[in-house]
């Protein structure tokens, strides 16, 4: 809400600069800013009377003038053609600042000293071009600052009015806050109306179909108006807050709306058929062309203002074109009504428009100010458009203003706002805001809530009123000691542990959108299925689904980084995915990640090697080790996003928790990704149980380990995993570990075969092992493998 300070001073006196006023309102009401105004940087320009004008002896186009500017007379050199003795103009004295921050100094022009400068409208930033210096009416007093004369000294503040304060969508509401802030008195305009016969009820009728929608509707009639331009003061008022002046009658409705915060509407009386207003819901398919020239189709959710034949306005939202006040308007029917906020809100939302009127009605206007608002508008139409105001009002419906009285207990006030103001001060503060205050029982105040403050309904609301007028800085900040036992959510702790571990493995965490394209998974060769949850009103029509997988957005991040030259990628996200689950939704935490580009950071002595399956798998197993999840395993992968020959399902504690592997070449091609990308996509919740188990301490081994290597030549089809499993199941009591140290294919082994080298580790907790017993155990295992896999030993 923009407020001109000059306009504001019509209702309240205050001795504050715009900046100070903005700060006070910010501290008492809501965020308020000073709006930069055109002439705010102009100083030192005063009204001055030209006494004499003589031709400059050395320049045809210049004059040498003596001017009286109140504090004395000065000689100035002037080039304007319109300068003449006796005229009242504007003098920029030496040191003055004019438009564009230009400073005026004493200068010598063709040998004559000029003590200042007579200025044009352009030089004050008022016009683009000027033909001569400013000329004021003779009544202006010499020495007066021209900003006052020209209205350049007006300042505008912008108050960010919150939805609970419709009263502050009128300047009087703001003025009331200012009055409370500075301790001065609010002046509400008094209306002295001259009425003529016949009375309004004889000229017009109003019917309300449902008083729920419109509890009260007042109509007044103003006849013989002379439509014309508004006077300067009214135009300035409206323009100062960014409204365009249209005509005296229309300007009055806008002015009164801005003044009281109550929208009113002027109909051309002679176009209102049967001179009858009917307030009713629209029927389905009914049409109305609104003031903006748009023909709108209506439904029963819209409340209409109709005349004797059909719709003339969307109630509380926008008037219709057919009854608009124009140049030929002679008589005016003025509407001042109270419409149901929800009905107006839904109607405006449905039409997709928000107007100054709908914004105010949907927040709730003051029901008790209606007569005053209408009378004020009538008086101004009489004053500015010579309209004759018909006696009385056409009054339909009735408004039983629900008077709210609240007891404010001082004990409650003190305990909430410690220390809180004393009772008399609290009472005065509430009274300054328009509340009726009297003594209540048991050290309380009985507070009557004014009709324009329907946001105040509870004692807590009153405490806020006192707190903000008293000043939040009066409240004593305290950090008391309270002890509350804090418990940690194990699932969250587990996710934190996973994050730490993945970062420790050199990955950057990313956070991507929860939204997903409809065919995001199809683009990866997978299917979205019908489990995805769809938004009814997506912001981006391309991304209407809640993601069921992190992979699509993860791969987008891979591509975008590769495209800007960041091709060595190790990224992960811990985030939610969403699925339909019966009537409800299943929100699941996932860990997804990608490796692309070089397997190792670049170094000067090694060749960059692209990421492969084993780099990624190594990361996952290292992650398992970091998190003490040692029961990782793999199962066959049957999806299509990954390359079937280098991908697997991940098992943790025997449960399938996700997939990992190289992205399929098709997806890489289709998604414009770098050549080799490893991804993993793992469900986190099943890991929580595995993580939560803390290790059990066993004495550290006191005897050395013994190692034995063996290289087995086996069939190409035999997997390392099979052999490892067989070694595991040998149940040699001394065997404590096994690892693969080498895989070889080539000249030294026959075709169709490969050699896999294993390191087996033996240890006893009781004694140092002898070579002989280790060799025996190793021999038993090797024999077992030779038999099981038809393996031969490679020397």
């Amino acid at each position: 809400m923009k407020v001109s300070l000059r306009w504001l001073r019509d209702y309240v006196d205050f001795d504050l600069s715009a900046a100070d006023l903005a700060r006070r309102l910010t501290e008492q009401l809501t965020e308020t800013e000073v709006v930069e105004s055109a002439g705010s940087d102009i100083t030192g320009v005063v009204a001055a009377k030209v006494i004499t004008v003589d031709r400059h002896p050395d320049a045809d186009r210049l004059s040498v003038c003596v001017v009286d500017w109140g504090a004395g007379s000065s000689t100035v050199v002037c080039g304007a053609p319109n300068v003449k003795p006796g005229m009242m103009s504007a003098l920029a004295v030496p040191g003055a600042v004019i438009a564009g921050g230009r400073k005026v100094e004493e200068v010598t022009l063709r040998g004559r000293r000029s003590h200042g400068m007579l200025v044009s409208a352009r030089e004050l930033g008022l016009e683009e071009h000027s033909d001569g210096i400013l000329e004021f009416e003779a009544a202006v007093e010499v020495g007066t600052d021209v900003r006052g004369i020209l209205g350049l000294d007006d300042e505008v503040i912008d108050v960010d009015v919150q939805p609970n304060r419709p009263d502050c969508l009128g300047i009087i509401g703001i003025a009331r806050e200012v009055a409370a802030a500075v301790g001065s008195k609010l002046r509400i305009p008094e209306v002295d109306l001259t009425e003529v016969d016949p009375g309004a009820p004889e000229l017009a009728a109003v019917e309300i179909e449902d008083v729920q929608d419109c509890p009260r509707y007042i109509a007044r009639v103003i006849s013989d108006v002379e439509i014309g331009p508004s006077p300067a003061w009214l135009r300035t008022r409206l323009e100062s807050v960014g409204l365009r002046s249209i005509s005296n009658v229309v300007d009055v409705t806008n002015f009164v709306m801005l003044e009281f915060g109550h929208p009113i509407h002027a109909f051309d009386y002679d176009t209102v058929r049967e001179h009858r207003i009917v307030v009713r819901r629209a029927t389905a398919g009914e049409r109305l062309t609104t003031l903006d020239g748009v023909e709108r189709e209506l439904s029963p959710k819209h409340l209409l203002i109709c005349d004797g034949r059909g719709p003339v306005a969307a109630a509380g939202v926008m008037g219709g074109g057919g009854t608009e006040v124009g140049d030929s308007t002679k008589n005016v029917l003025l509407e001042c009504a109270w419409f149901d906020p929800v009905v107006v809100r839904r109607g405006a939302q449905d039409l997709g428009i928000r107007t100054d009127a709908s914004q105010r009605f949907e927040r709730g206007v003051d029901p008790l100010a209606m007569e005053l608002v209408a009378a004020r508008a009538c008086a101004l139409m009489n004053e500015l458009a010579q309209g004759k105001v018909a006696r009385g009002i056409v009054d339909a419906g009735s408004w039983k203003a629900p008077a709210t009285t609240i007891e404010l207990h001082m004990e409650k006030l003190e305990s909430m706002l410690a220390p809180g103001p004393p009772k008399e001060k609290a009472a005065a503060e509430l009274a300054s805001l328009g509340f009726g205050v009297s003594d209540g029982p048991d050290d309380s105040l009985r507070v009557e809530v004014p009709s324009f403050r329907h946001d105040v309904r509870l004692e807590a609301d009153l405490i806020e009123e006192v707190a903000r007028v008293d000043g939040y800085d009066k409240i004593r900040p305290e950090v008391p000691f309270h002890s509350i036992a804090v418990t940690t959510d194990p699932a969250r702790a587990a996710r934190d542990a996973v994050r730490e571990a993945v970062v420790g493995l050199g990955f950057h965490e990313i956070l991507t959108s929860s939204f997903m394209e409809r065919d995001a998974l199809e683009k990866l060769g997978e299917s979205t299925g019908d489990e995805a949850i769809e938004l009814a009103n997506p912001m981006n029509k391309e991304m209407p689904l809640l993601r069921t997988s992190i992979l699509p957005s993860l791969l987008d991040v891979v591509r975008r980084n590769a495209n800007v030259g960041e091709g060595d990628i190790r990224i992960f996200e811990i985030g939610k995915v969403f699925r339909r689950a019966g009537e409800g939704a299943d929100e699941r935490w996932m860990l997804a990640g990608a490796l692309a580009g070089a397997a190792e950071p670049p170094a000067w002595d090694r060749q960059a090697r692209p990421v492969d399956f084993y780099d990624g798998k190594g990361v996952l197993w290292a992650l398992g080790e970091a998190l003490s999840v040692d029961s990782l395993g793999t199962a066959c992968y049957d999806g299509s996003a990954l390359d079937g020959t280098a991908a697997a399902r991940l098992l943790a504690g025997g449960r399938d928790v996700g997939a990992f592997g190289m992205l399929s070449p098709k997806v890489i091609e289709a998604r414009d990704l770098p050549p080799s990308v490893f991804v993993f996509d793992i469900e986190l919740d099943p890991l929580v149980g595995l993580l939560a188990a803390t290790g059990t301490f066993a004495d550290l081994p006191r005897y050395p380990k013994a190692r034995r290597d063996v290289a087995l030549v086996v069939d190409e089809r035999t997997s390392a995993g099979n052999i490892l499993g067989e070694i595991d199941s040998s149940e040699e009591p001394l065997l404590t570990g096994v690892d693969v140290f080498d895989v070889y294919r080539g000249k030294q082994v026959p075709g169709g075969k490969k050699s896999i080298g294993f390191t087996l580790t033996y240890m006893s907790r009781e004694r140092t092992l002898t070579d002989a017993e280790v060799d025996e155990a190793q021999a038993r295992i090797v024999a077992r493998l030779v038999e099981k896999f038809g393996a031969s030993l490679r020397e």
Partner: protein, 336 residues
């Protein structure tokens, strides 16, 4: 005499060539070439020798001195090279082989920082679903249907009354419905607003909200706790301002500003020349919220507060576009 000199020469060459450190080399130099060395004494004793012997010994002494000087120079070079000279086999200035270095997302790091500060103030972390219903996201928070305050939350709807949470306040409602006071929690997490993203608004961003409900909780405690929190975050000296605000679920409500960290309160474009930057919204829990969750508003009072995590980090690092947090450009992630 000559024999002794040859012996000395052998010892000295071995000592110089074998010196493993500059100290060892210096000791060897003093022993074999120093003023009190045998060689020096021999050359000083020349004058006492017979003429013919004097010439032969003199020549030998000089030869040995020259030879040892050459070995000394070589040994000095060798030790200097080992200590980093250009001729070394290890060039200490070559870059080392680095492992990959990762990092948490700045939002995560900020959340961790905030959570640890609030943990110190006795707040427990609570979480809730992202898919919420109208009751928990709006109605229980005193935002009835068709209330103009709904305009403050552009909402993503799913179907029926299901929606994506527009704030983490529904976590407060769920917590209060499931526990009796005292309750002291923070609710961090992702929230959703159906707004076209720009430099200062995202459609998905992170919030952290706090709630404390007990008997006799005062407004001053809210101010004290938030002042303490902001002091921890930005330094004790930071100026904090509490001014009125409007939130349907708190009464009284307050917006909390900190002194602009760009201009230190003097006024600049970032703070729109006010010297203050808005950081938190807070207030005393509205009695209507207590009624919605079944707490007796005559017995309990409490405070709630909320802040934008992205914004806190932006203010800390001078990031000028909130969208950067969700683009995940590695160059950005490594920077902040």
């Amino acid at each position: 005499m000559i024999e002794r000199l040859k012996e000395l020469r052998g010892e000295a060459v071995a000592a110089f060539d074998g010196a493993a450190s500059p100290q060892e080399l210096e000791e060897a130099r003093v022993r074999y070439l120093g003023r009190k060395s045998e060689l020096n004494q021999a050359s000083r004793g020349l004058k006492d020798l017979p003429e013919d012997e004097r010439r032969a010994v003199g020549r030998a002494v000089n030869e040995i001195k020259n030879e040892l000087a050459a070995h000394l120079t070589a040994a000095t070079d060798r030790l200097e090279a080992a200590a980093g000279g250009a001729a070394s086999s290890v060039d200490l200035t070559l870059p080392g082989r680095r492992p990959w270095v990762g990092g948490k997302h700045p939002i995560t790091r900020t959340l961790e920082r905030l959570e640890s500060i609030f943990a110190g103030l006795g707040f427990e972390v609570a979480t809730g679903p992202h898919i919420e219903d109208d009751f928990h996201n709006f109605e229980a928070l005193n935002i009835p249907p068709d209330h103009p305050a709904r305009d403050m939350h552009d909402t993503f709807y799913i179907d029926g009354d299901r929606l994506l949470r527009t704030h983490t306040s529904p976590v407060q409602i769920r917590t209060m419905k499931s526990r009796k006071p005292p309750v002291r929690i923070i609710a961090p997490g992702r929230v959703y607003r159906n707004e076209t993203p720009d430099a200062s608004h995202g459609s998905e961003f992170y919030q952290l909200e706090g709630l404390y409900v007990d008997r006799g909780v005062r407004f001053g405690e809210l101010m004290g706790v938030l002042t303490k929190f902001l002091g921890e975050l930005y330094g004790e000296a930071i100026a904090v301002r509490f001014r009125p605000g409007f939130f349907p679920f708190t009464e009284p409500s307050t917006e909390v500003d900190i002194e602009c960290r760009i201009c230190h309160g003097r006024g600049c474009p970032v703070c729109k020349n006010t010297g203050w930057v808005e950081l938190l919204g807070a207030g005393m829990v509205d009695p209507r919220v207590f009624e919605a969750v079944g707490y007796d508003p005559d017995v309990y009072t409490g405070y709630a507060f909320g802040l934008g995590v992205d914004r806190i980090h932006m203010m800390m690092c001078g990031v000028n576009d909130i969208r950067l947090y969700h683009e995940n450009d590695l160059r950005f992630l490594r920077q902040v």
